[in-house]
């Protein structure tokens, strides 16, 4: 069976809210923000100054980025519950394959676009250290997207409700975590849960960034496997039948 066709269909299914367009909007917003930031950067800027500039870029994109991820979770949950998932597996694709494709697409797609927007932005404004900043951001964004989308998939399979799955995670990362995050992150677990909010806090050690990111990926994979198991054990009838 044609895997490329399946991926194309899933891409279409997960983008009913034009998240491509939303992500492009992020890029424009980041570009605007970086223009302001560029004016503040003088020649001979230190590494610390570059990092703080990158942080300010990321902060500007935080809420729209979380919203885009939440919308993808909503679409993923809806695909699982409205019978479209059944149509895919009747074609036939295995449950594991369809879920994996959905997860891969949802975890990679918003992150890659956002990271690409930042990378282009950094390049366009000729940072002396530009390959470093995008590379670090791509790492953070990808790791966090994997954790966020796996939590979304887990909630979607558990609650069988697109609104609940998207709503819980969206409100958690837009309203709760940013206001309750500790100022000092001392553990990789804390970093992993905080996600991009670590930028608000003072991290005690640079290695926490790396360990935290790895921890996010491990937790994400664990939740993905758990979601597989829930899907296998639950009956896949469309809700409302």
């Amino acid at each position: 069976m044609n895997k490329r066709v399946l991926l194309s269909l899933i891409a279409g299914d997960l983008d009913p809210f034009f998240s491509v367009e939303i992500t492009i909007l992020f890029g424009v917003m980041i570009a605007n923000y970086s223009m302001i930031g560029l004016l503040e950067i003088q020649p001979g800027q230190t590494q610390e100054g570059v990092v703080s500039f990158a942080i300010s870029l990321f902060k500007a994109a935080y809420v729209p980025f979380i919203l885009a991820l939440t919308l993808v979770i909503y679409s993923m949950a809806r695909t699982l519950e409205d019978g479209r998932f059944l149509t895919y597996i009747s074609f036939p694709y295995s449950v594991r394959k369809v879920t994996s494709y959905m997860f891969t697409y949802s975890a990679i797609y918003p992150g890659v676009l956002l990271a690409a927007a930042i990378a282009v932005d950094s390049w366009a404004f000729s940072f002396s250290t530009w390959p470093l900043v995008p590379a670090v951001l791509i790492f953070y964004i990808t790791c966090f997207s994997i954790l966020f989308e796996s939590m979304g998939l887990f909630l979607a399979t558990l609650t069988r409700s697109p609104v609940l799955a998207g709503g819980i995670l969206g409100s958690l990362y837009i309203f709760i975590i940013p206001t309750t995050i500790h100022k000092n992150i001392k553990s990789a677990l804390m970093y992993a849960i905080a996600g991009p909010n670590f930028l608000k806090a003072r991290v005690s050690s640079n290695s926490l960034y790396i360990y935290g990111g790895i921890f996010e990926v491990i937790m994400g994979i664990a939740l993905l496997l758990l979601s597989f198991e829930i899907i296998r054990r639950r009956n896949l009838r469309p809700v409302g039948r």
Partner: protein, 288 residues
């Protein structure tokens, strides 16, 4: 215990429980080539049985085999042999018919021309440039059915493929399926909860009632008549003399009398017959 082999569908003591409700209770049958109808009222478990047969649901008890594959264990291998039309199949791609056909043929490896041929037979080729939202439920069903019938698989499982289609096109569907079954030498398993023309084309009829296959009967076997008339009570009294099993149920007369006997009795008493349908005797049990 049903013996399984590689050229048919087998269902061995399959049970399925939803919360406390036992939807399927030790269902057991085997199906060979030809048209097999699964009938039952709403909620009788037809779709659940199909989900189990196609490996979408795991049975709580028993086992299933499709052409030698266990669909739960080797879902992809089993389903490569099966065209399964869900009761409510989803539209692929965005909402245009042309795009849906393109995606469907890409996935299943069928030709778009073959799908268009079936659409022509069903009289819905005019929908090609339309969007799915603009179609009626019946038209959608016919487009979907065109897609699934275009597949060249040894097994076709169709879940209520004509439930929203008008009477005229139901006849066409029956004829097309009969021709397809004959030409492809495939196994057709079709569910329906209505008395329709599909029953007249079937090689076998199964009735799912109270979680069990209560009766099986070929279309060529004993038949029962269902009539709606201007005076059901008088006609029942007349038919009861020679056919004691005649009864009234849900505003219709159920009898083993043939159409000739029914019409003769109605004419003698000046009773108007509004509708008449002949069904396999096995199906009577659903309504009694």
């Amino acid at each position: 215990m049903v013996e399984s082999s590689g050229d048919a569908i087998y269902c061995n003591d399959v049970s399925k429980l939803f919360r406390r409700r036992k939807v399927l209770n030790n269902v057991q049958f085997s199906l060979g080539k030809g048209i097999n109808i699964l009938s039952g009222v709403n909620g009788s478990g037809k779709s659940t049985l199909f989900y189990i047969l196609t490996g979408i649901m795991k049975p709580d008890g028993g086992s299933v085999s499709i052409l030698g594959h266990d669909p739960w264990v080797s879902h992809e291998a089993a389903m490569k042999e099966v065209s399964f039309m869900l009761e409510r199949p989803s539209v692929l791609g965005s909402a245009s018919i042309r795009e849906h056909i393109y995606w469907f043929s890409s996935i299943r490896g069928t030709g778009t021309e073959s799908i268009k041929d079936y659409m022509h037979l069903f009289g819905v080729e005019y929908t090609l440039s339309s969007s799915f939202q603009s179609l009626s439920m019946g038209e959608m069903e016919l487009v979907m059915l065109s897609c699934y019938l275009s597949c060249e698989t040894p097994v076709f499982i169709l879940d209520e493929p004509n439930s929203n289609v008008d009477v005229h096109r139901r006849s066409i569907i029956s004829e097309v399926i009969r021709n397809k079954a004959k030409a492809s030498n495939s196994i057709f398993l079709i569910s329906t909860h209505i008395f329709d023309e599909l029953l007249t084309t079937s090689d076998r009829v199964m009735v799912l009632k109270n979680g069990q296959i209560t009766n099986t009967d070929g279309a060529s076997g004993r038949r029962a008549s269902i009539l709606r008339t201007s005076d059901n009570i008088a006609l029942r009294a007349a038919l009861e003399v020679d056919f004691p099993d005649t009864s009234i149920n849900g505003g219709a007369i159920f009898t083993s009398a043939s159409i000739d006997n029914c019409v003769k009795a109605a004419l003698e008493r000046d009773i108007t017959v509004f509708s008449y349908i002949s069904i396999p005797e096995a199906l009577r049990s659903i309504y009694e």
